[in-house]
Each structure stands twice: as structure tokens, then as C-alpha cells.
């Protein structure tokens, strides 16, 4: 429920969600697991941050949602990347590259 790191790393969360959906559609819990997996367990996204982000990104048009069946035959809401979302992923990736490069530079400077 602690929303503070999320708001600090807003762009990061969006980037991670977009990235997690690149391989195919996932439901909320799936996104959460996938992020944990691809970040090697560094980022654990709580539902309190995940759902608002998913809904916001859907409204932005980056992802779309539909109701489907989960692995255990449960009705679950799935999210999939849209065309705009792929573009956004590129933008975010580039931006992140710049940011991380800049921060790296800053930290290396004596």
C-alpha cells in the first residue's frame, strides 16, 4: 500500500509493465510475477500500485484488456500491449537509457 516509491519511479513502473507484456497477454497477477521474474526479484509490485497503473495505461491507450480464462479456469482480466503501447515502450526504453547513463556518469564523476 505504500505508494511513495511508485510515484518516485512512475516511469519505471510503466516501463516494467510494458516490458512484461511484450511476450504476450497477462492478467494482473501474471504481470506482477513476470516483473519479479525479469528483475530478478528486485521489484515486487503490490496490487495497490499495479492496478492503478494498469487502468491508467489502459486509458492512455497503451494496453487493452479483455476477460479470459486463467490457467486454473478462473475468469480473469487480461492485458495486452497495443500498437501505441509498443511505441511507448520504445520511448520509455530510450528515456530510461538516457537516465541510467546520466546517473551512471554522475556517480562515476569524482
Amino acid at each position: 500500500m505504500n505508494s511513495e516509491p511508485t510515484s518516485l519511479l512512475q516511469g519505471t513502473l510503466d516501463l516494467l509493465i510494458l516490458k512484461s507484456l511484450i511476450a504476450g497477454e497477462l492478467h494482473g497477477l501474471g504481470v506482477s510475477h513476470r516483473i519479479r521474474q525479469i528483475t530478478g526479484g528486485t521489484f515486487v509490485v503490490k496490487p495497490g500500485s499495479l492496478f492503478p497503473a494498469l487502468h491508467r495505461m489502459e486509458e492512455e491507450g497503451w494496453i487493452s484488456s479483455f476477460w479470459g480464462e486463467s490457467e486454473n479456469n478462473r475468469r480473469a482480466k487480461y492485458y495486452r500491449l497495443s500498437k501505441a503501447g509498443r511505441k511507448q515502450l520504445e520511448v520509455e526504453t530510450k528515456r530510461w537509457g538516457r537516465v541510467s547513463w546520466a546517473i551512471g556518469q554522475a556517480l562515476e564523476a569524482s
Binding site: 492478467h27 492496478f51 478462473r74
Partner: protein, 892 residues
């Protein structure tokens, strides 16, 4: 494409709320169940699996609320729901809501009404092109006072200045005008040719004055106002045939000015100023002056410019003395028109501002009490995921609803209020016709309501949502914990209320006592049963015509005396208490033998200070003193001996006799006062009459010389008739007599009581308004004290029950509650007295006969306030003594 998506999301969120909500609910629940299943699969026991999943999720409702806040259009939607919720809250307490709305409506309405007067009189620009570039120009005399301009001085200002693109002189007075549809008493202004250029206007019909129209001996021409042209000239488009008879001369109408142009106030006809040539004296202050600044010239630059010219005149003029200018001053025309009204109006604005504060304090206290009762609700909302900002917004919304409804009602009230204010306003308040509820006033009211709402809402919200709300949930309905500090705030508000009310009531008291002191002043004349009649004959120089005017007045007075019921008839050049009053000037004491043969010789004598005296100059008949009951102190007043050809005589006022001829008998002395009416014949003083407060009761009597109307005729006079008969009978009879003597002379009637009462108008206006604000503030503050004390007793019921159960008597309880109230009252009164001492200095200029720190007023008001406030405490305190310990302890 994304924009389309956004729009679709917005619409969906907005119109298919239920589906969106159901979706969200399912999604979160599905998530929860999947989490539980995972835990089960990992071998966690079922009960524990479910609990862990819940912990992981962090609360279904909280997650949903967070999602909602991210939604498109969420802001709009939640404001609507805040409004709905707010309305429900307000409806839940209809009594409190009605009281709050009424209080706010009263305060906002009063403030709006007063502001509309301030705006119309002081702030609204004059209705001329670039009106802020139009200046008024005055001479400054040796005593620092401002006076009108003498002709040669104006000419020097006009010819030597480098600051004005146009500068003009003007002088307005009432004359009889005939030749139009009917003879009228009309306000005319004599103006120099650049007058219209100063205001940046052109005639809508015909032409402006040219330089040749203004030359001495030019054919008389006149410009008419639009209204006069419509009403009296039949809107005729052909001006060539229109002539008006003014002062026995025929004036050709050459132009019509645009609708709405009436400067100076109420003028209908404009004539060239110098058709009879200029007055060569530099001390005959006959004209006001206005000018339009050149582009880029500041008021300060113009001031330096005019001041330099004025000082040059002062240094080089052969005329010297108190009446010669010493300096010149330039100020915006608007300031010169409204400057005198400004202090009183600002005091009114301050007073109504205080009223607004007192009213807001009451509403704040009511809102706080309601918020305290809602602690539990706030705690629940907060626990369900509402952020503090959201709760604050809820309070703001409620306050805004209150203030906007209150403000709307207030503006409606202000419509009537403004009409009332205009009716009540003193006649000498300038620009009253531009006071109305206009767009800027509505904007003001809206901003004011919003500001009030923001202050009240934020204040309540911050008080109500401070601290850890959810802890209150644990304490349940006890309602004891947080209440201590909220009651402290309530009492502080009440103390502030008492302080502000005290300042307001002290101000009202000082003004009220001033009015009473003014009314105690003996004016020196009678007021009742006097009918006045203004009569204007043509202004002429020809001595023969003047002599015939004296005969006219003489027969007029004789005939008026015949009206049944009329006991005395007199005439005076200017009634006491009328704006403007009698002109003042310098006379000199001399005998017939000393009379110089030439004007230059006269000027030389003016250098001999010991001969000079200063006095007002009145033209009167013997009957004037009798009608007004002005007592003869010594000697005699005018009688049959004083015909036009016998030696001219004068009667002087007591203060002039005392000051100019100390230890001497002025009777028998001769004086020369020819600069007032052009007649150099000496005046022999034959009598001394009582002083009168000619310029208003609050101004000291002025030394006055009265000359005889039948010896020194004057064109415009006011006839005074003392009569026991009905005023209407007297006026219709008098009108008939004037008609009979000369049908071309219109007259105007008033009772002297009306004139007298109008002279007290500004004072009465201030006292009534500030007194009204004071009384309303007093009622509000009383309600405030009562409310807070009653609330406090209510909250302390349990405590009081315990005290009574432990043996406290009812007098102990009474003392405890009253003591608590008294502390609040005393703090308020102390602050109020300190504030009054600091603030009443601002009304010092409006006071008369009392100082700004008048102990009687301060003491009386303090006693009154403490008494009323104690009474307001007493009722809840008595209720506290009736607390039954058994009921009280079971109460919760």
C-alpha cells in the same frame, strides 16, 4: 487515436459507472483468489492462505479507491459526488444550515452593497475618454487651503504651462432660463473655449465654442445637454432658430452635447465665460479649472509645472495678502470630486468588513461543531482509503455550497440594500447616480463568497482532519478526546468575535455620540415653520436695472406678507446649512474722508493691515433675522430709514464684533466691502446680531457682515417665510404671487427643516449604517457565545454528572461554567479595547465633541457587551445545573 481512447474512457467512466465498478470489483477479487490459490499450492493451510493473500493485497476497497483516483474524469466525478454528499450533509442539519446560509447572506449582502457604493463613488472611472488624464487645478492660499482660480491666474496657468494639452475654467450656478418650452431654473456653467477638448467630446449636433465665441462682446452662444435639448428644445435638429433668454440676453443655441455628459454635476447649459470681459483681480477666485494632461506627462510633473507658475505670480504680483495664491496644485479630477467622501466611505467598508468577520466566525463555529460530530464518519472514510486531501476537499465543497447559496441570496438582498443606501445617502455624496449592482460588483460578490468558502472550508478541514483519524475509530462515540482542543478553538473564535464586535460597537458609539453632541449645538436660528423659496433674477451690472430688482424684491416681500398665516418674510443671499454658503472676503475699516479717489489708491490702502478684516458677506432683509429668530444683540437691524439713496448700512455678527473690534463699540464705524459686489459705497455698522452656525452645526460660527438687500440688490436670493399655515397653501400662494409679478421667473420651494436635516445627512448616514452593522455584529456575537457555551455544556454533561455525583452543588456548577465563559469574554473584551484604541483614530475626522478614546463610550460599550455575553452564558450554565447525575452517567 489516443485522444479518442481517452474520450471513450472518460465517457465510459462517466456513464457506465456501474459496469466499470463491477469490472473492477471482479478483477480485484479474482486477483485475491488467485493469490490465495497460489498460497494453497505452496502448502499453506487454507485459513492462513486467505489471510496472507489479503495482507498481500492490502485491502480490496483501498485498491479499488486507488484505481478510481487514476481514472479519466475522476476529478470531475468526485467533485460531483462531493457536492451530492455535501448537500446531503447540509440537509441533514436543516436548522444549522439555514442559520449559516442566512448569516453568510446577511454579511455578504451587506458587504456587497457597501462595496457597490464604494465602487460607484470612488473606484469607477469617470465616464469620459481616458478620464484618468483629466485633472483638476487649484490655487493654494497662504493658509494652505485650496481655492478656485482668479481670471489672470488662470490665464497665466493656461499660457505658461507645458503639461496640459487643454485646460479650461468653469463656474456653475442656477439661473432662470426662458425662451424654451417653459421658463426653468437651470444649472448653467460658464466655461472657457477649450472645455470640451479637456473631456475629449464633440457636440453630436452643431458645433463647439470657437475662440471668437469667447471674446468680450461676442454674440452670446450656448451649448445644451442632450437631456435639455430633448425636453426643452423639442429635439429640434435645426438649431439655427433656437434662442434662449438668460440674464436678459438672447443666446443662440449652437450645439448639443452627447447624452450623459453633465459636467459640472447637473449642468444643462454651457455659456462662454468672458462675454463681459475678465475680472482683473488676482484675488477674485471665481473659477474652477480642469485640464487634460499631455501624453507622457505625469501628475507630479504637472504639479511642479503649475506650482512654479503659481509661485512666480505670488512673487511678482502687486496684490498681496491672504487671498493671493501662494502655490498651485494639480490632482486627478476624480479625486477632487470624491476626495471628501473617501474617509467616511472607507470607514463604512471597514465596518462592514468587521461584520463579515464576525459572521464568518459564527459559521466557522457551527461548522466545527458539525465536524466534531462527524469524527467517526471521517475516521471510517479515512480507513476505507480516502486520503486527507480528499477529506479536505469534501469540507471545501460543503463550505463552497454554503457560501455560494449565501452569497447568491446576499446579492439579491444587496439589490434592495443598494436602493436603500441610495435613498439614505446624504445629498452631498458625489456620483451617487453611478452606484448600482453592475458586473464588477457581481464579480466582487463571487470572489468574496469564494474567499469566504475557502477560508471556512480549509479552517474546518484542517481542524477536523488533523491527527490520526483512525485512532478516533477505536475510541468510538466517546467524543471526549479530541473535543478538548476543538473547544479551545471554539472559544478562541468567540473571543475574537467579541473583540471585533467591541471595536465595531465602539465606533458606532463614538459616531452616535458625535451626532448627539452636534444636535445639542444651538444653531443660533429657528428651524421649524419656515418655508424657503429660491428666486433668481437675471445677473446684470447696470445700476438702473439693479435698482429695479430691489423694487421687485421689495414688492415681492410686501405681497408675500399678505398670505394668510404668514407672519414674517425675509430674504438672504445664502441660507445657512446650504452647501457653498456665503462668500467670504476682505473688508477695510475707513471713513468717508479717507476714501481714495482711484482703484490704485484703494489697492494701496489694502496694504495697511490694521484696517483689514475678514468676514462672510451676506445680503439680507430685516425680515430675515426675524424669520430665523436671529437675535439682535445691540443697535438696530435694517428699517424704512435705509432706502436706496440713504447711507448704506450693515449689521455684523457677534463674533466679528468681538474679534475685529475688541474693547470697542463697532456701531458707527464705517467699512468698505466693495470687492464682494462692486459697490464701493461705505457701509455704516448699525447693529450686532447673534452668531449662527452657517456652515453646519459642527463648524464654528463665522464672522459675517450683512448688508441690506434693498440697498445692495442681488439677482439670486432665497426668500424665507415664517408661517403657521399649511406648507402647501403657502407655496402655492407664493408661486402665484411670483407668477403675477414676473411670469418668466421660476421658483423652487423647500422647508427650512428639510435644508437643516439634509445638512446632518452624512452624519446620520454613518451612524445608521455603522450602528446597524454594530447591532448585527452584537447579535451574531451573542449567538456565538451562546452556541459555544451550550455546546461545551453538552459535551461536558458526563463530567458535570460526575461532579454532581461527587457532591458539587448547583452553584458550584454554575460558577464553573460561568467562569469558563467569563474568561473567554474578558479575553475578547481586552483585545477589543486594545483594538479600538488603535483603530478609532481612523474615524477621528468624523467625530465631533468626543475624542477617539472617549471613556464614556468605551465604558458603556464594554458594559453592554459583557452584560449581553454573560446573559448568553447564563442560559447554558443554568441548564448545566439541572444535569441529573444518573441520566448523565448513563448518557453514553
Amino acid at each position: 487515436m489516443p485522444l479518442l481512447m481517452k474520450a471513450r474512457s472518460f465517457l465510459r467512466n462517466f456513464f457506465s459507472t456501474r459496469r466499470v465498478e463491477a469490472d473492477l470489483d471482479q478483477e480485484v477479487h479474482a486477483h485475491l483468489e488467485m493469490l490465495t490459490e497460489e498460497n494453497l499450492r505452496a502448502g499453506v493451510p487454507p485459513a492462513e492462505a486467505h489471510r496472507a493473500a489479503r495482507m498481500e493485497l492490502g485491502g480490496v476497497e483501498q485498491v479499488k479507491e486507488q484505481v478510481r483516483q487514476e481514472r479519466m474524469g475522476n476529478w470531475f466525478r468526485s467533485v460531483l459526488s462531493d457536492c451530492r454528499y455535501g448537500l446531503r450533509q447540509l440537509r441533514k442539519n436543516p436548522g444549522a444550515t439555514a442559520v449559516m446560509i442566512f448569516t453568510l447572506a446577511l454579511a455578504i449582502g451587506a458587504t456587497t452593497a457597501i462595496f457597490s457604493v464604494i465602487y460607484g463613488v470612488l473606484l469607477r472611472p469617470l465616464p469620459y475618454n481616458d478620464s484618468d488624464r483629466i485633472m483638476a487645478v487649484f490655487e493654494v492660499n497662504s493658509k494652505g487651503g485650496w481655492s478656485h482660480l482668479a481670471d489672470p491666474n488662470f490665464d497665466d496657468f493656461r499660457d505658461q504651462n507645458r503639461s496640459f494639452q487643454a485646460i479650461a475654467k468653469h463656474s456653475a450656478y442656477v439661473v432662470s432660463v426662458s425662451g424654451a418650452s417653459q421658463p426653468t431654473r437651470t444649472m448653467v456653467a460658464r466655461v472657457s473655449p477649450d472645455f470640451l477638448r479637456v473631456f475629449g467630446i464633440q457636440p453630436i449636433l452643431g458645433r463647439d465654442f470657437t475662440a471668437s465665441d469667447a471674446k468680450k462682446g461676442a454674440g452670446p452662444t450656448v451649448l445644451a445637454s442632450y437631456g435639455y435639448w430633448k425636453q426643452n428644445l423639442g429635439s429640434s435638429p435645426d438649431l439655427s432658430q433656437l434662442h434662449l433668454k438668460i440674464n436678459n440676453a438672447l443666446y443662440a443655441v449652437i450645439g448639443v452635447l452627447p447624452a450623459g455628459f453633465r459636467f459640472p454635476a447637473d449642468v444643462d447649459l454651457w455659456l462662454p465665460a468672458d462675454l463681459d470681459g475678465e475680472n482683473q483681480s488676482r484675488t477674485a477666485h471665481n473659477y474652477s479649472a480642469v485640464g487634460r494632461l499631455r501624453d507622457g506627462v505625469s501628475v507630479e510633473q504637472a504639479n511642479r509645472d503649475i506650482s512654479a507658475i503659481a509661485r512666480r505670480i505670488h512673487d511678482t504680483s502687486s496684490e498681496q495678502g491672504d487671498y493671493l495664491l501662494k502655490d498651485g496644485i494639480v490632482l486627478p479630477l476624480q479625486e477632487s470630486i470624491t476626495g471628501k467622501a473617501r474617509p467616511a466611505l472607507l470607514v463604512l467598508l471597514g465596518a462592514v468588513g468587521f461584520l463579515l468577520l464576525v459572521a464568518c466566525a459564527n459559521v466557522a463555529n457551527l461548522l466545527l461543531a458539525q465536524a466534531a460530530a462527524r469524527n467517526r464518519e471521517l475516521a471510517i472514510r479515512s480507513a476505507l482509503g480516502a486520503e486527507r486531501g480528499r477529506l479536505v476537499r469534501q469540507f471545501l465543497t460543503e463550505a463552497l455550497l454554503l457560501a455560494l447559496v449565501g452569497g447568491g441570496l446576499g446579492v439579491l438582498g444587496a439589490y434592495w440594500g443598494v436602493a436603500g443606501l441610495i435613498g439614505l445617502a446624504p445629498q452631498n455624496l458625489p456620483r451617487l447616480d453611478s452606484v448600482s449592482i453592475s458586473i464588477p460588483i457581481l464579480v466582487f460578490a463571487l470572489l468574496l463568497s469564494t474567499a469566504v468558502a475557502a477560508t471556512l472550508g480549509l479552517f474546518t478541514a484542517v481542524r477536523a482532519t488533523s491527527g490520526d483519524l483512525r485512532r478516533d475509530l477505536g475510541e468510538g462515540g466517546r467524543g471526549q478526546a479530541g473535543s478538548q482542543s476543538s473547544q479551545r478553538v471554539g472559544r478562541a473564535i468567540v473571543a475574537a468575535q467579541i473583540a471585533i464586535t467591541l471595536v465595531l460597537v465602539v465606533g458606532a458609539g463614538l459616531l452616535g455620540r458625535s451626532l448627539m453632541k452636534v444636535l445639542e449645538v444651538n444653531p443660533g436660528f429657528r428651524v421649524d415653520k419656515i418655508v424657503t423659496m429660491d428666486v433668481s433674477l437675471p445677473w446684470v451690472e447696470d445700476p438702473k436695472v439693479k435698482a429695479s430688482q430691489a423694487v421687485f424684491f421689495s414688492s415681492l416681500v410686501d405681497r408675500l406678507k399678505q398670505i394668510p398665516g404668514v407672519r414674517k418674510v425675509g430674504a438672504i443671499s445664502g441660507l445657512p446649512m446650504v452647501e457653498g454658503g456665503l462668500p467670504d472676503g476682505m473688508f477695510q475699516v475707513m471713513t468717508q474722508n479717507e476714501m481714495p479717489k482711484t482703484i490704485d489708491g484703494l489697492a494701496a490702502m489694502f496694504q495697511q493691515k490694521e484696517r483689514l478684516g475678514v468676514a462672510d458677506f451676506g445680503v439680507a432683509t430685516d425680515g430675515y433675522f426675524e424669520t430665523l429668530g436671529i437675535p439682535l444683540i445691540r443697535g438696530r437691524i435694517f428699517d424704512e430709514r435705509d432706502g436706496p439713496n440713504s447711507p448704506h448700512v450693515a449689521v455684523i455678527s457677534e463674533s466679528l464684533a468681538r474679534d475685529r473690534w475688541p474693547n470697542q463699540d463697532p456701531i458707527g464705524h464705517t467699512i468698505e466691502f466693495g470687492n464682494m459686489d462692486g459697490d464701493l459705497r461705505l457701509l455704516t455698522i448699525v447693529g450686532i446680531v447673534g452668531d449662527i452656525h452657517e456652515y453646519g452645526l459642527d463648524a464654528p460660527p463665522r464672522p459675517t457682515v450683512y448688508v441690506n438687500l434693498f440697498q445692495r440688490p442681488r439677482a439670486a436670493i432665497t426668500v424665507t417665510m415664517l408661517s403657521d399655515a399649511d406648507t402647501r397653501l403657502v407655496t402655492s400662494a407664493a408661486r402665484g404671487i411670483v407668477q403675477d409679478l414676473n411670469p418668466e421667473i421660476p421658483v423652487k420651494f423647500q422647508t427650512f427643516a428639510q435644508v437643516y436635516s439634509a445638512s446632518l445627512g452624512s452624519r446620520r448616514f454613518n451612524v445608521i449604517l455603522i450602528g446597524f452593522f454594530g447591532i448585527v455584529a452584537l447579535l451574531l456575537a451573542t449567538a456565538g457565545v451562546f452556541g459555544v457555551m451550550a455546546y461545551s455544556v453538552c459535551r461536558r454533561t458526563r463530567e458535570i454528572g460526575v461532579r454532581v455525583a461527587l457532591g458539587a452543588g448547583s452553584s458550584d456548577v454554575l460558577r464553573m461554567i460561568l467562569g469558563q465563559g467569563l474568561r473567554t469574554i474578558f479575553v475578547g473584551v481586552a483585545i477589543g479595547i486594545a483594538g479600538s484604541l488603535a483603530l478609532t483614530r481612523t474615524v477621528a475626522s468624523l467625530l465631533f465633541g468626543v475624542t477617539a478614546t472617549d471613556p464614556v463610550t468605551f465604558g458603556g460599550v464594554t458594559l453592554l457587551l459583557v452584560g449581553i455575553a454573560l446573559l448568553a452564558c447564563f442560559i447554558p450554565a443554568r441548564r448545566a445545573t439541572k444535569v441529573d447525575p444518573m441520566v448523565a452517567l448513563r448518557y453514553e
